[in-house]
């Protein structure tokens, strides 16, 4: 028995040793690269052109020039556009989700068609069609200017994505909940609103927050609508500053601003997913 154990043990050990050797090589390689770059930064032996990097990506006077407008105009607009499109999209998605579960077949067909259509198209194309195609074809103006056009365009797309999420959430609520509510005399809409939807939304808050993060980034598409000085969102603002200064620094600045907005949200999603995961045994 002992010999058997030993013969079984030996190849295992050598394999472990080989794995740890490989890991050591990886660490050493990393250390080498870090040391090389770090020493270059201090001793400037010309491996990397640090001055060029700073000149193009981190120019202090351009950074200074961007504040406070990058926050008071660009970031503010990005948040407003996101909030508007998300709210509109959410209402649309709820209606679509309920239609998709309707007993009336044409409603289901319409909802399915809508969802497939707008999930299949690039958001940019939808935005173009809504903002330019429709007004041109039917000779009318979408009220609310850029905010109105953008909200409509992005909201229509977001609604298609969120509709499926909401439907999945509603279907995850046990049937007995609706039955208990109906047996107490609640009409279906009342039962839906007070019993089923609160439970469904608790389930789908993480995926909905995810959609919100996607939407924040999608507001960068608003540039196709044509924005004025006061209505620029982050990406458009950064691009204009880049053109003005012929320098990449503004893009680095807006990248940081995006992260300041999105990272807390993604962090929140992860925490919510963990906590709802715990609650649902």
């Amino acid at each position: 028995m002992t010999t058997q154990q030993r013969t079984a043990g030996i190849p295992l050990l050598t394999r472990l040793r080989r794995v740890s050797l490989g890991r050591w090589i990886m660490y050493l390689l990393l250390l080498f690269i870090v040391l090389l770059v770090g020493l270059d930064a201090i001793l400037r032996f010309g491996l990397i052109d640090w001055a060029k990097i700073q000149r193009n990506f981190f120019k202090p006077d351009i950074m200074r020039d961007m504040f406070p407008k990058v926050l008071t105009i660009a970031a503010k607009n990005t948040i407003i556009y996101t909030a508007a499109a998300f709210t509109f999209g959410l209402i649309l998605a709820l209606i679509l989700a309920l239609m998709k579960m309707s007993t009336i077949r044409p409603y289901r067909w319409f909802a399915s068609g809508y969802i497939e259509l707008f999930r299949g198209l690039p958001a940019l194309v939808t935005l173009f069609i809504i903002a330019f195609g429709l007004p041109l074809a039917f000779d009318f103006r979408i009220p609310g200017g850029i905010l109105g056009k953008g909200t409509l365009g992005l909201g229509i797309v977001a609604g298609a994505y969120m509709a499926e999420t909401i439907r999945a959430g509603i279907e995850a609520v046990p049937r007995g909940q609706m039955e208990a509510a109906r047996s107490l005399g609640m009409p279906k809409p009342t039962a839906m609103r007070h019993i089923v939807l609160p439970q469904a939304f608790r389930i789908i808050i993480p995926p909905l927050t995810n959609e919100l993060v996607l939407l924040i980034k999608d507001t960068s598409l608003f540039f196709v609508i044509g924005t004025t000085l006061e209505s620029k969102e982050l990406t458009k603002f950064g691009r204009d500053m880049m053109n003005l200064h012929r320098n990449t620094t503004p893009l680095i600045v807006i990248a940081f601003v995006y992260l300041i907005i999105t990272l807390p949200l993604t962090y929140m999603v992860r925490r919510l997913e963990r906590s709802t995961g715990k609650g649902r045994i």
Partner: protein, 246 residues
């Protein structure tokens, strides 16, 4: 002459090709306690769920206090408030605490003001012996406690009759007694009750009438002692023998 609370005439129910109920006729008189027994798949739960139209009958008529619930344009929601229902799986609302479980339909359906609804809820909770759990959420209660809250929730609507769909089947054996006690006291107070159950002891003690169903029809019915101890139908004898040998 009083109108019977529940009257069922020639009730049929299909699930697809399968005929689950094959012509049910029966009445429940005011204050009567009727227990429905039978093997699984006999249609007894479906029958109960048809009474408050959780299942739509394929054919037949259901009269609640003389009003045709199956008629086109009948006030189904209004009639349902007269029928309390207790489910096998309790079906308490997990996002609401016990108090709100008991008040939400009082407020949204009966239009009671908050203080009034809270008063009723407290009275009913006291009745099932759970007033101290008023702030708890359902997830923190035992199965027996959840079922007693569910009974209290149904009672808050002041129903004229109660339906029980295997109310103790999902419970640990040691928790069954507390639920049956509540049901027994309800029966003693004169509530009209239609109970689908496997608790033969309860049926014998409390029921005025026991109905034996098999294959979607009522095979036999009668006073509990007669039906449970001395069944006339061979199928009933076999069923009762089978469950006593467990």
């Amino acid at each position: 002459m009083t109108v019977p609370p529940i009257q069922i005439r020639d009730l049929h129910k299909y699930f697809g090709e399968l005929e689950v109920l094959r012509g049910i006729n029966f009445k429940v008189a005011s204050g009567e306690v009727v227990c429905v027994i039978g093997p699984s798949g006999s249609g007894k739960s479906t029958l109960l769920r048809c009474v408050n139209l959780l299942e739509t009958p394929t054919a037949g008529t259901i009269l609640i206090e003389g009003e045709d619930m199956t008629a086109w344009g009948a006030d189904v929601d209004g009639l349902r408030t007269k029928i309390g229902m207790v489910f096998q799986q309790f079906n308490l609302f997990p996002h609401l605490n016990v108090l709100n479980n008991l008040t939400i339909s009082q407020r949204k359906v009966l239009g009671r003001r908050e203080e009034e609804a809270n008063d009723v809820a407290r009275r009913m909770l006291e009745r099932v012996g759970l007033l101290d759990k008023i702030e708890e959420y359902p997830g923190r209660l035992s199965g027996g406690q959840q079922q007693r809250v569910a009974i209290a929730r149904a009672l808050c609507m002041n129903p004229d009759m109660m339906l029980f769909d295997e109310p103790t089947s999902a419970l640990d054996p040691e928790l069954i007694g507390e639920v049956l006690d509540v049901m027994r006291s309800l029966a003693e107070e004169g509530m009209t009750m239609l109970v689908v159950t496997h608790e033969m002891g309860f049926a014998r003690q409390v029921a005025d009438r026991v109905v034996f169903m098999d294959g979607g029809i009522i095979m036999e019915q009668g006073p509990p002692d007669e039906l449970l101890l001395n069944p006339s139908h061979e199928r009933t004898q076999r069923f009762l023998r089978a469950i006593q040998h467990i």
